[in-house]
């Protein structure tokens, strides 16, 4: 911590933060042979946030130098004083009892834009040459890194890097009746740099072939019958349920705003087979897809248990909501840009695996659907959710049947989760998404395949 920052924070009577941040992005996209996106960008700046009797003041500037530290802290303090004078809450000071101290071991690693372009062009060429029925194709390579340094008035000092790299391939084809069907998938990648995951583009050829095969099946696909159906929803979709339909309802700020989870601690909200956790940095004995070690209020991160054996056991908190609910903060206060204030956000949210194999689960369904891919999902603080399903299959007499065209599933999370009676023994993660809540935020979500009853939209 620089002397300027130390001196500036030493004058704060209640909790105060100074955060410096650099966000580097590299994006390349090839659309049917044309390089349509070729971007490199960098945004760097600092912010200060000051707590005063129940309200916050915040200020930021696009400059990392110590010269502006006093200025933004003063501006943040003035904002807090103004709000405290106009809408006093008289909640007294807020303190961080165990300030985080953390320093990332691995330094930032620059990525070569040419490498990304060459990789995307090569993969695009492979699709052009080997997927004859594709009418439109795109390959995108994304390599981002958020670097944060946080200092708090209580002495928290955390330096973290959050690199994230992935490749997205989207394919379209026409059906015999002239309609367009589409599919996309994320190939490889994770919380690291491009060369950690990618070298020869040929390593992704088999994954492209598989996506193409699925697209060809979908081209011949049928629409599912609408109504409540017995389904096996695969891990990408169960992760979406974990994040969108349950996770948001147990974010403490949304609980305070009246989400369905308000007043439900200790109540049964799901089948006894369901366990749900927002993991900090390690999950199921391995590194979580997007590990977070210290949050942006200076709390050392730990897992936040949310559902145990079907019973709601906790919320995700920031310092203020943890004090309100008498819970321990687990490090969920996160900000996206240097100009953003920390909000309660998820990190790596997943339903725990069960004991069945996927094959056993499919064999157990006489008449239903196996739903494997989703494009997007939205949920309500009532727990009502709707997800677009882009790939799936009929299940007839325990065997997979025809592929499905695009459809949707919907329901109420805590009702749907009570119908879960089988979980697969394997968890898959999706780490390439952004969660939207005033600010975007990279998050990962995961889960096993679930056997449950859910409303299928049909055509």
């Amino acid at each position: 911590m620089s002397d300027t920052i130390k001196k500036a924070l030493s004058g704060c009577a209640s909790h105060a933060e100074i955060r410096r941040q650099i966000y580097r992005t590299r994006r390349v996209a090839v659309l049917s042979g044309s390089l349509v996106t070729n971007i490199s960008s960098k945004a760097a700046g600092a912010c200060a946030r000051v707590y005063r009797n129940g309200v916050w003041g915040f200020a930021s500037i696009g400059d990392l130098s110590d010269a502006h530290v006093e200025e933004i802290l003063r501006s943040a303090r003035e904002n807090a004083v103004l709000l405290d004078s106009r809408k006093p809450k008289n909640k007294g000071p807020l303190t961080l009892s165990a300030p985080a101290v953390y320093r990332a071991e691995r330094p930032f690693q620059e990525t070569d834009q040419k490498q990304l372009i060459d990789f995307a062009m090569a993969l695009d060429s492979y699709i052009g040459e080997n997927c004859p029925h594709v009418t439109s194709r795109s390959v995108a390579v994304i390599a981002d890194c958020i670097e944060k340094e946080l200092f708090t008035s209580e002495g928290a000092c955390a330096h973290q890097l959050f690199p994230r790299t992935y490749v997205v391939v989207s394919l379209s084809a026409e059906t015999d009746d002239g309609e367009t069907v589409e599919l996309y998938d994320i190939f490889g990648g994770g919380a690291g740099y491009f060369t950690d995951y990618y070298g020869d583009p040929a390593a992704l050829h088999s994954a492209v072939d598989q996506l193409y095969n699925e697209l060809m099946q979908k081209r011949e696909g049928v629409f599912p019958e609408a109504g409540e159906r017995l389904c096996i929803i695969d891990s990408v979709i169960s992760g979406m349920v974990a994040h969108e339909a349950v996770g948001h309802t147990v974010e403490a700020d949304l609980v305070l705003a009246g989400s369905v989870a308000a007043g439900s601690i200790g109540k049964t909200v799901a089948s006894g087979l369901i366990n749900l956790t927002d993991f900090a940095h390690t999950a199921f004995g391995e590194a979580a897809p997007l590990p977070v070690y210290a949050d942006d209020e200076g709390v050392m991160c730990k897992d936040a248990p949310l559902i145990r054996d079907g019973v709601l056991v906790g919320y995700m908190n920031n310092l203020e909501s943890a004090r309100h609910f008498g819970m321990e903060p687990c490090g969920n206060a996160r900000a996206f840009a240097f100009s953003d204030e920390p909000l309660i956000r998820m990190r790596n949210t997943a339903i725990h695996p069960g004991e069945n194999t996927l094959e056993e689960m499919i064999a157990s369904v006489e008449n239903g659907y196996y739903l494997t891919k989703t494009r997007n999902g939205q949920a309500d603080t009532t727990g009502e959710f709707m997800f677009g399903v882009t790939m799936g299959y009929e299940i007839k007499n325990g065997k997979l049947g025809r592929a499905l065209r695009d459809t949707t599933i919907s329901g109420v999370a805590f009702e749907m989760l009570k119908t879960v009676d089988m979980l697969s023994d394997t968890v898959h993660w999706d780490f390439a998404g952004y969660c939207g809540k005033k600010q975007p935020m990279p998050v990962s979500l995961g889960g096993p395949a679930l056997r449950c009853k859910v409303n299928v939209g049909g055509r």
């Binding site: 070729n38 960098k42 696009g62 709000l83 106009r86 834009q113 372009i117 705003a257 309500d380 677009g388």
Partner: protein, 435 residues
């Protein structure tokens, strides 16, 4: 403004020095003052001071783009060099370009100074009005902000635009609660130039909150029918996104995935449906002055009496397809109001649904969609009836546009466009146990 011009011209020089054949730079400086209300209580005041430089370099018909948030000459020079290097590594594309010089201009619009105290008073008054008039409403989040910006766009063809603007925006997310009853959340934005504005009376704020209270009695819909879906102005933007993106945007036309690819000059919607892009309309607050390509932005008619008059192509999309460029890249839209008031329009509907929010997956490129009708009401025998939960609607947007059964006389004017209620025929409405 002079320092921004200087930075833009410096960035162009540096890109040329690094070998660019053509270069474009956009430089901005801005400030945001923001008040936040969370769970009904004021929580935060936020001040953001920002700057940015966006760059585009073309070398041997290969394009690179870059962005930084610093006006420091050393940083700009380094970013310019990197931008040109990205272009060198790129792929040749005859369609890439920078804007041609037509007529340079300087624009000034809106509220150029922030009256922070007065605006805070207005937001406080709004929260107090909401608590008094709608005690069941929970203001889950209110983000009230004043945004000021100065912008310069310049390129090596001699294009030079400057722009200075400022406005107030209030974004409101809310739900209603009464004992165990709770509604879905809903949200909307309103824009104003007046820091003293009565927020409760801006746009459809009062109507939206009144409807939320009625939604407390919502129940799941049972059954299935094909009928008329009246999209409220708050839900119409979902349809507009499909029209301007999936049906008329760059990727859709370059890839040929749009059902409208051969429809320019042809009927794509009912006669009563007209849609214009209106960045320069006085009802739009601080509308687009310069397109994302770098041209002066102008109003244009996209669909006139159901006939497709223009796509929404950028200059790149235009070069790729041979079709004309749209003269605005703005999302500010007017759908021409009809003659009949909403009540009269609904009186003619035997069975349908009033959709106030649509929560759906991204529609297929042919327009097929399905999703949940949120904050919505059943229409039966010509009247708005029971509020609904767990109700899905599905159909095809291209087909729906050909079956517009009415457009209301009332419009929402929230500072970002002019939108009426639009009644679409042939929409499938389904709920639980709909077999």
């Amino acid at each position: 403004m002079e320092n921004l011009k200087k930075t833009a011209l410096f960035a162009l020089d540096k890109m040329k020095e690094a070998g660019a054949d053509h270069a474009q730079a956009s430089v901005s400086e801005g400030r945001v003052e923001e008040f936040n209300v969370d769970a009904g209580e004021f929580s935060l005041i936020r001040s953001v001071f920002s700057a940015s430089v966006g760059m585009k370099a073309i070398k041997d018909q290969k394009k690179g783009t870059g962005a930084i948030n610093s006006l420091d000459p050393e940083d700009v020079a380094a970013a310019a060099a990197e931008c040109v290097q990205s272009a060198e590594h790129g792929a040749e594309d005859p369609a890439v370009c920078i804007s041609k010089k037509e007529e340079n201009a300087d624009f000034t619009d809106g509220a150029l100074t922030c009256d922070k105290e007065a605006f805070l008073d207005s937001v406080i008054r709004f929260t107090e009005d909401a608590a008094r008039d709608f005690p069941q409403i929970m203001l889950e989040q209110v983000v009230a902000s004043y945004s000021y910006g100065r912008h310069v766009l310049a390129n090596t063809n001699g294009v030079l635009f400057t722009e200075e603007d400022g406005s107030y925006n209030v974004s409101i997310m809310y739900s209603a609660h009464d004992g165990d009853k709770t509604t879905s959340f809903n949200y909307f934005d309103v824009e104003t130039l007046d820091p003293h504005a009565d927020i409760m009376e801006l746009g459809m704020t009062r109507t939206m909150l009144e409807r939320a209270v009625k939604e407390l009695e919502a129940s799941p819909f049972t059954g299935k029918f094909v009928g008329v879906a009246v999209f409220a102005p708050s839900a119409v933007p979902d349809v507009i996104d499909v029209i301007t993106g999936s049906f008329a945007g760059d990727v859709a036309l370059i890839e040929g995935t749009t059902p409208w690819k051969n429809s320019l000059g042809q009927q794509v919607a009912s006669d009563c449906f007209s849609l214009s892009v209106i960045p320069n309309d006085p009802r739009v607050i601080c509308g687009e002055k310069v397109t994302s390509d770098g041209y002066k932005s102008r109003n244009f008619d996209m669909i006139e009496n159901g006939v497709l008059k223009s796509f929404c192509l950028s200059e790149y999309g235009s070069n790729r397809t041979g079709l004309p460029r749209a003269v605005s890249s703005s999302g500010c839209v007017e759908i021409k109001a009809g003659d009949r008031p909403l009540e009269e329009m609904i009186a003619g509907i035997e069975k349908g649904i009033l959709v106030c929010r649509f929560s759906g997956g991204e529609p297929a490129s042919n327009g097929d969609f399905s999703g949940v009708a949120k904050n919505s009401f059943l229409i039966e025998n010509g009247k708005i009836g029971a509020p609904l939960t767990e109700t899905m609607i599905s159909g095809n947007f291209a087909e729906m546009l050909r079956r517009v059964e009415g457009v209301s006389a009332e419009t929402l004017q929230d500072g970002s466009g002019v939108l009426p209620y639009v009644a679409f025929g042939g929409v499938t409405v389904s709920g639980k146990n709909n077999e």
